[in-house]
């Protein structure tokens, strides 16, 4: 056998004592220095067990391969009661499962709005009382192939984007985006909020469904790739993607729903984030394709319910690993300040799970100020995410990094080793139910979500290999 290092010029990666690295410098040996630091406290033993798992390498290759090869297509817009197992009186919500008692202000506000929207309560006080008595059944969106931004509350009468993965055959859903300001997803439930939701169910949803029936499936992978090159990161900036969506759909809307075309297009066009929900469903269907690969340490969901931040890992089925949701750091609208902010909330972290959002910050210099930084911070944010991800996305590329693919596929072991937590871009909801959006910024997930997932992976190593 031959060893390649024995012929030609040695080039060395050094990690550890700088004294030994400097000795190589004195010999003019080309070297790359690793800026190493100890892993997250208490993870040494778990890391050693998980890294030693012989399944890990191939399992992660499979998982991330599925994630990046997914071909999400927008195939329809359908009422939730038709496509989801969602009887009246059952509401889906963002993040890991939560009950009313532990729910935060905006989550409670959105649930109150849901009760009112579905005609299950006379007024807000009545709704609150019924919710407190447990009259509504709550479940996590993620348990139903669904994601929802912010509170992410889905009721049976809402219309949903339906996205299919043409590669692996999965389907995922997300509600339609209501726009900015006082909206249900930020916990607002006033009359104008409910009026808009009813219009969306009566006019917008059916119009879009008719439109997609005429146009056929819309390739979201291609649209996302284009939007990234036009300055979106697809979480906090969706302006290019929304514009592209309007451009694709407008003629078909005009033909499919001539009576409502103007108001429908005006509504979509008036909301830079209209694409977000379709994009989230696309990310969800891609991440779901990577689920349940035994031995894989890749994260397939990151989600927050306003109280807890939770992650799910490919090799660990549907289990959630949670920690307290943090308060985002960012800029505030008008007179709002950090005291008005609710802890992190929403399923929109599915974009980061799939390599967009905070991971693609370098693609979106236009919003770096919005999230409190300059262009070099955005570049650094994306670069640092390559440290904790398994792959670079073949289709989603960043012009400013020489068309390098976005970092994709968070590896729990790399998070623990580097101490680098996923960078998440997010909107900030008001703390008090009914306030709506108060700002936007960056947030760090709790480390404990990843360390507990790592511990579970370590436990699964023995079971997994024992049963093979």
């Amino acid at each position: 056998m031959t060893l390649t290092m024995l012929s030609g010029e040695p080039e060395v990666i050094t990690v550890g004592a700088d004294l030994l690295g400097e000795a190589l410098d004195f010999q003019a040996v080309p070297r790359t220095r690793v800026d190493w630091r100890p892993p997250m406290p208490g993870t040494e033993a778990d890391l050693a067990r998980v890294l030693a798992d012989p399944r890990r390498g191939r399992a992660n290759e499979t998982a991330v391969g599925r994630l990046v090869s997914a071909r999400p297509q927008l195939v329809g817009v359908r009422p939730a009661h038709e496509v989801l197992d969602l009887p009246k009186g059952t509401f889906l919500h963002a993040g890991p499962p939560i009950e009313w008692e532990r729910a935060s202000g905006p989550m409670r506000g959105a649930l109150i709005g849901a009760m009112l929207l579905e005609g299950l309560a006379a007024d807000a006080a009545d709704a609150e009382e019924r919710l407190a008595r447990g009259q509504a059944r709550l479940d996590s969106c993620h348990h139903h192939r669904t994601v929802g931004p912010m509170a992410g509350v889905v009721t049976s009468s809402m219309w949903m984007f339906e996205v299919r993965d043409a590669e692996h055959g999965g389907t995922a859903y997300c509600s339609l985006n209501e726009g900015l300001g006082k909206v249900l997803r930020y916990g607002a439930y006033g009359p104008e909020v409910l009026r808009r939701l009813r219009w969306m169910a009566e006019v917008l949803g059916p119009a879009l469904q008719a439109t997609l029936e005429r146009s056929g499936p819309l390739d979201l992978r291609a649209l996302t790739a284009q939007a990234l090159q036009m300055g979106d990161e697809l979480h906090n900036r969706n302006r290019a993607a929304t514009s592209l969506l309007v451009r694709e759909l407008a003629p078909e809307v005009a033909e499919a729903a001539p009576g409502h075309a103007a108001e429908v297009l005006r509504f979509i066009n008036g909301n830079d984030h209209f694409f977000l929900n379709a994009g989230m469903a696309a990310c969800k269907v891609s991440a779901d394709a990577a689920r349940n690969v035994p031995g894989s340490t890749m994260v397939v969901a990151m989600a927050r319910n306003g109280t807890d931040f939770g992650v799910q890992v490919s090799g660990l089925g549907d289990r959630w690993f949670t920690g307290p949701a943090g308060v985002p750091d960012g800029l505030y609208l008008g007179a709002y300040g950090p005291d008005d902010a609710n802890p992190d909330i929403g399923d929109s972290t599915i974009t980061e799970t799939a390599g967009l959002g905070g991971f693609a910050m370098a693609a979106a210099p236009a919003i770096v100020r919005f999230v409190g930084g300059d262009v070099s911070d955005a570049m650094a944010a994306t670069r640092s995410m390559y440290e904790i991800t398994l792959a670079e996305h073949p289709a989603y590329q960043i012009p400013g990094l020489d068309f390098r693919g976005t970092p994709v596929g968070v590896d729990v072991t790399l998070v623990a080793r580097t101490g680098l937590l996923p960078t998440v871009n997010t909107g900030i909801a008001g703390r008090v139910a009914g306030t709506g959006q108060v700002g936007a910024g960056l947030v760090s997930p709790p480390a404990s979500a990843f360390t507990t997932a790592l511990a579970a992976l370590a436990e699964a190593v023995d079971h997994g290999n024992g049963s093979v």
């Binding site: 990690v15 550890g16 000795a23 190493w36 030693a52």
Partner: protein, 458 residues
């Protein structure tokens, strides 16, 4: 004064250097600058510092000495030193966003091997990164569990790379010295070594004889144990056999486990390249003899190994013998040759807890030398090369002169090459001028020491 800095990490060797510098600051009596590991917290507590809560990811600074102002000034000075550590070393590739793992480094930059010297419990992850990226890896770190070593070496075998270590102190790949390594001329001899200082001795003697080496592949002290089964030794032998630059292989180890010895013998029998084995044990050739065998096999002349006889008349009488060693294998060899005497290997784990290796930090050996009573014979090794003390004679020579003045006979085994950064001749002359007899062959130094101790020679 105690300070804890969170989110700051420096490697232990760098911090030891800062600690030493801190102790030198005006008014500072005791200084501890270390990562707040359980061990280091314990040491600081023993020294009487009142410690706040801190973890291994925090930097602990504990100072005692003159007034508060003095300590504040010392602290400011210390911060300057620490900032200097964070700055990129002059020659290292300055990158804007240095990678945090070997995996990330291997993904972004071309490389042929990795050198891992993080604390033992963390070495596995970095080494595995290298192996999985198709790179050979040298693991300088010790305290790596044996099952991790076996796993790494098995994975390396699947992927066609070599794992050198753990606890591999020296390697030379294509002339590049890794860890503690000497500046050696390129040449036809390939070395496979389960012993770091043993390999350095053989390589330096070959260099004195004008014979160069192709590569020196360390395998780690446990490789030839029954647990590891010689996984790296066998691969290293095969790799050198396939290497066109290698005409002769020297295998250096303590005697392997019997079943491993069989596997090694079988592999050697299959090689096209001749192999000289130096197995340190009773009845075996010492390292110098093995080197001479290798030279004869190459048809190269065996020179007189350079030595510098003691100048004075100290130690005329027989006395008991003490070995004060920094190299484990050299210590074992000397003990085998002398057959008696009290030998201490200061490079052993028991002496390096919370302290740099004696090849970097001479403190303990200097203390031991100072305690030797008159009339005794002291044998000690001085190892030169990359990574080692930049000027060992600067501290040793005065200590040797002091010992000689007390009537102690000092004999030094100086392991180094002419090309070493410290300068072999300058070091030998300084030690010799202080009163020591200096030998480049440890076996000859030990033989001489035994004779002096027995009153046969002076």
């Amino acid at each position: 004064m105690v300070r804890v800095r969170t989110g700051v990490y420096h490697d232990s060797v760098s911090l030891m250097r800062v600690s030493r510098a801190a102790t030198a600051l005006p008014g500072v009596e005791v200084a501890v600058v270390a990562m707040a590991t359980e061990l280091n917290l314990g040491i600081a507590a023993e020294l009487g510092f009142d410690l706040p809560k801190a973890g291994p990811a925090d930097l602990l600074i504990a100072l005692r000495g003159g007034g508060a102002d003095t300590l504040e000034a010392a602290l400011a000075e210390l911060d300057g030193l620490l900032a200097g550590l964070s700055a990129m070393p002059a020659g290292g590739t300055a990158v804007e966003h240095p990678p945090h793992t070997v995996r990330a480094a291997a993904r972004e930059r071309a490389a042929t091997l990795a050198l891992v010297s993080v604390p033992g419990p963390y070495a596995f992850a970095e080494a595995l990164d290298a192996v999985e990226a198709g790179l050979s890896v040298m693991i300088f770190s010790d305290n790596v569990p044996v099952e991790q070593e076996v796993l790494l070496k098995r994975r390396a075998a699947e992927l066609g790379v070599l794992v050198m270590g753990p606890d591999c102190g020296t390697a030379v790949i294509g002339g590049a010295g890794l860890g503690f390594a000497n500046v050696l001329r390129p040449g036809p001899v390939g070395l496979v070594a389960a012993s770091g200082t043993g390999a350095q001795q053989v390589a330096c003697l070959l260099d004195h004889a004008g014979v160069g080496i192709s590569h020196l592949l360390g395998v780690g002290g446990r490789d030839l144990s029954a647990d590891v089964g010689g996984l790296s030794t066998l691969r290293a032998l095969e790799a050198l056999d396939a290497d066109p630059a290698t005409e002769l292989i020297v295998l250096i180890s303590k005697p392997p486990a019997p079943e491993v010895a069989r596997a090694v013998a079988e592999t050697i029998a299959k090689l096209g390249t001749p192999v000289v084995t130096a197995l340190l044990g009773p009845g075996q050739d010492d390292l110098t003899a093995a080197t001479e065998t290798a030279l004869r096999a190459l048809g190269a002349p065996v020179p007189a190994w350079p030595s510098w006889p003691a100048p004075g008349t100290a130690g005329e009488h027989a006395g008991s013998l003490r070995g004060i060693y920094s190299g484990g294998t050299l210590c074992v060899e000397a003990r085998l040759i002398t057959g008696s005497g009290e030998f201490t290997d200061f490079g052993d784990d028991a002496y390096t807890v919370g302290r740099a290796h004696p090849m970097i930090d001479p403190t303990l050996r200097l203390e031991a030398l100072a305690e030797v009573p008159p009339g005794e014979v002291v044998l000690l090794d001085v190892v030169l090369g990359h990574g080692a003390d930049p000027d060992p004679a600067a501290t040793l020579a005065p200590a040797i002169a002091g010992a000689a003045a007390r009537g102690v006979t000092v004999i030094v085994a100086l392991v180094g090459s002419e090309g070493d950064p410290q300068g072999l001749n300058a070091q030998a002359e300084a030690l010799n001028a202080a009163g020591a007899a200096v030998f480049t062959s440890n076996a000859q130094a030990a033989g001489h020491a035994a004779e002096v101790a027995a009153g046969i020679a002076r």
